[in-house]
C-alpha cells in the first residue's frame, strides 16, 4: 500500500471517494496552509479569551496615555504661583502684581497667581514646591526674591515677576515686543508621548506575546506535542508572528485614535507608513522575543530575561522623555537600540510627517535586530 502526499492537491475538506483509508467514514484532505490557518486562529482565540492580554495590550497603554497626558498637559505649567511674605510692603506688591495688564487672564498663555502668607507658611510652601517664588518686600521699598535655581519654573517666575514689578513701578520697555503663544498640536508632551507609548507597547507585546507564550507552551509540553505531529515548524512560528501583526494593527489603531480623539493629536505622516513601521517593529521585537525564549524551560526564568532585555530600552529609548538628556557620548549606543529606532521613526512619521525613505537608518537598525535574532533563535531553538 502506498501513501501519496501530492502537493498538487489544494482543495480542503472535500470528500475523497477513492481514499484508501477505510477506517474513516468521511475522508478529509487538508491543503498546504491548513495548519498555519488553524494555528493562527487558535492563537487569536486564546488571546481574545485571556482578559489579562486584553487589559495589558489594549487598555493599559490607553490609561497610561490618559494619565500622563492629563498630568503633563501644558496649561497649568504656565501659571506662575508666587507667595508674598506678609510684611510692610506686602499688600502694595500684591496690588502691583494684580495690576499687570493682560497677565491675569489664563488664555493669554500665562498668568500670575499671588497670595500673601506669613513668613513661616510662605517659606514652607515655597520649599515644598507649592509656590515657584517667594517675595519679601523690605521696608525701604526694595524686594528680595527667594527662588530655587534647580527648578526651571522657579527661575522662570523670578524673571517674570521681576519684569512685572518693574513695569508696574513705571519702567518703560526699551523696545516694543510682542509674543505669540504656541501650544499647537504637534509640540505638546502628549504628542511626544503617544509615539513613544506605541513603540513601548509594540516592544512589550512582542516580547511577552512571543517570548512568554513560547516558554509557557514549552513548559506545558505543548511544543513537544506539536512537533510530534506532521505540523511544519515554520508554520508554527509564522502563525505566531502573524498573530502579532494582527494585534499590532489593533494596538496602533486604538492608541492613535485615542490620541486624535481625546488630545486632538495630529497624525501628519500616512497611516500606511505608521502601519508599516508598526509591522517592522512588531516583527523585530517578535524576533528578539523568540531569541530570549529560545532555550528557557521555565516561565520564571524567561520573565526575568524579558525584563532584563527591556529594562535598558524603557530608560534610554525615549519613551517618556527625550534621550537627549543623556550625555552625547552615549547617543550612538542609545540609537542602536531597537526601541530607540522605532520610537524615533514613529515620532518623525506621526508628528513631522517624515517619509519612510528618509529614515532608512532607523529601519535598518530594526531590520538587523529582527533578522539577526530570528536567525540565532532558529539555530538555538528548543522544541522540547
Amino acid at each position: 500500500m502506498y501513501l501519496c502526499n501530492s502537493p498538487a492537491v489544494t482543495c480542503e475538506k472535500t470528500d475523497m471517494a477513492t481514499t484508501e483509508r477505510s477506517t474513516s467514514t468521511v475522508a478529509l484532505r487538508n491543503g498546504r496552509w491548513s495548519g498555519y490557518r488553524h494555528l493562527l486562529w487558535a492563537r487569536i482565540l486564546e488571546l481574545k479569551r485571556e482578559p489579562e492580554v486584553v487589559f495589558w495590550v489594549f487598555i493599559f497603554p490607553l490609561l497610561l496615555a490618559a494619565g500622563l497626558g492629563i498630568a503633563f498637559r501644558n496649561k497649568p505649567a504656565d501659571v506662575t504661583s508666587v507667595v508674598i511674605i506678609d510684611g510692610a510692603g506686602a499688600q502694595k506688591t500684591l496690588m502691583m502684581l494684580q495690576a499687570v495688564p493682560g497677565k491675569s487672564s489664563p488664555d493669554k498663555g500665562s498668568s500670575i497667581r499671588a497670595i500673601v502668607l506669613d513668613r513661616e507658611a510662605a517659606l514652607k510652601g515655597f520649599h515644598f514646591g507649592k509656590f515657584d517664588l517667594a517675595i519679601e518686600s523690605n521696608s525701604d521699598g526694595s524686594c528680595t526674591y527667594y527662588y530655587d535655581p534647580a527648578r526651571p519654573e522657579s527661575v522662570l517666575s523670578r524673571a517674570e515677576i521681576d519684569a512685572a514689578l518693574q513695569s508696574a513701578a513705571g519702567r518703560k520697555d526699551a523696545i516694543s515686543t510682542s509674543a505669540q503663544s504656541s501650544s499647537e498640536p504637534g509640540s505638546r508632551y502628549i504628542d511626544f508621548l503617544i509615539p513613544g507609548l506605541l513603540g513601548m507597547n509594540l516592544m512589550n507585546s512582542g516580547m511577552w506575546g512571543v517570548g512568554f507564550a513560547l516558554v509557557e507552551m514549552r513548559q506545558r509540553k505543548l511544543l513537544k506535542r506539536f512537533v510530534a505531529t506532521p505540523m511544519r515548524r515554520s508554520d508554527f512560528l509564522l502563525a505566531l508572528a502573524s498573530s502579532r501583526l494582527v494585534l499590532m494593527v489593533i494596538e496602533v489603531g486604538l492608541l492613535l485614535s485615542f490620541g486624535v480623539l481625546v488630545f486632538h493629536m495630529r497624525v501628519r505622516g500616512s497611516i500606511l507608513s505608521v502601519i508599516l513601521l508598526g509591522s517592522l517593529g512588531a516583527v523585530a521585537f517578535g524576533g528578539v522575543g523568540l531569541l530570549t525564549a529560545c532555550r528557557a524551560q521555565k516561565i520564571e526564568s524567561v520573565s526575568g530575561l524579558i525584563n532584563l532585555v527591556m529594562m535598558p530600552m524603557w530608560i534610554f529609548s525615549g519613551v517618556f522623555f527625550s534621550y537627549d538628556k543623556f550625555p552625547a557620548i552615549a547617543h550612538p549606543f542609545i540609537k542602536a537600540l531597537p526601541l530607540t529606532a522605532l520610537n524615533d521613526a514613529l515620532r518623525a512619521t506621526i508628528t513631522e510627517g517624515a517619509s519612510l525613505g528618509s529614515q532608512s537608518g532607523r529601519l535598518l537598525v530594526l531590520a538587523i535586530w529582527g533578522g539577526v535574532s530570528f536567525i540565532l533563535a532558529l539555530r538555538w531553538f528548543r522544541w522540547t
Binding site: N5, N30, H38, A42, L45, E46, P230, R232
Partner: protein
Amino acid sequence: MAFVGSPIECTNLRKTYDGKVEAVRGLSLRIEAGQCFGLLGPNGAGKTTTIEILEGLLAPTSGEVRIFGHTWNDNPRQLREWIGISLQETRLSEKLNVRETIELFASFYSEPRAADEVLEELKLTEKADAWVGKLSGGQKQRLAVATALVGNPRILFLDEPTTGLDPQSRRQLWEIIRAFQKKGGTVLLTTHYMDEAERLCDGLAIVDHGQIIAEGAPSDLIDRLGGHHVVEFQVSGDGNGDADHLDRWRSLPSVESVRREDSTLCLSVREPHLTIPALLDAVAKDGNQLEHLSTRQASLEDVFVQLTGRHLRED
C-alpha cells in the same frame, strides 16, 4: 513511501544523558501490525525515554529505529502522518474548547478524520464546546488520545495513558484502545499498572534499568513463574524465615518457588489443593500457629518481583 517491515522495530537502543546517566541500555524490540504492545516497568526504568526515541522526539545515543521500515531521518513528516502520540504529560491550551483543539490537531495531517467522528468515538461530543481547562482528568486524557487519533494514524503511542485516572475512566480508555486495535491499528503503550498490561496487551516487555528483562505475552510470562497460583501465609513462633526454612517450604508438593516479604511467605504453586494440606501439616508438626493464609492467581507483579526482587510500585 511504502509500508515495509514491522510497524515498530528497534535494535540495540542506547540513550545516555549528559554522558553520565544511562537511561536506556541496549534495548531491542519488534512489534507486529495489529499488536497492542506494552512496556511495563517501575518509574525511572527508561520507558518514557524509549517510547520518545521510537516516536522520533529524542535521538538515541546509538542504535536504530524503524517505523514501517523507515528511519526517522528518511522522511520524518511522512512518518508523523502514520503515527499518533499521547505524551505522558501535555497540558493542552486551556482557553480553546474541545472541538477547536481536535480541529487544530486535525489541520496538521494531510488526511485527517472528521472531528465529529472522533468526538463521538471518544465520548466527548457533549463536551465539544467546553474549554479544555474545565475538563476532568479522564476527559482531558480522552482528549489527548483524540488529538492522537484524529490524524488517522496506523500506530498509536501512549505514554502512561491511564496514570492518575479513576477506574471508570481507565476502562473507557481501554475500550478506545481496543477499538483502535480492532480496526487494524498497532499500539505501543507504557504503564506501571499490572492489570492494565495484563488486560490490554498481547505482547509485553518488562523493562528495568533501561533493559528488557523479560518479553512475551502476559500469560506466557506468568507461565514462566512455574505456577499460576500464589499461596501467602504467616506463621507465629520463632524463626520461620531463614534459608533452611525457605528450602523446607520449597519441598512441599507442587511448589515451584518461594520468596519472603517481611513476615509473609509467598509460594508459587501449580496446584494449591496439593500444597495447602501439606502446608497445614508442616505448620502443625512444628507446633506453630498459622496466622494468615490466602491464595490468589499469579500476576505480572509476581513475575516482576521474581525477576528483580522488587515491587513495581514501591508504595
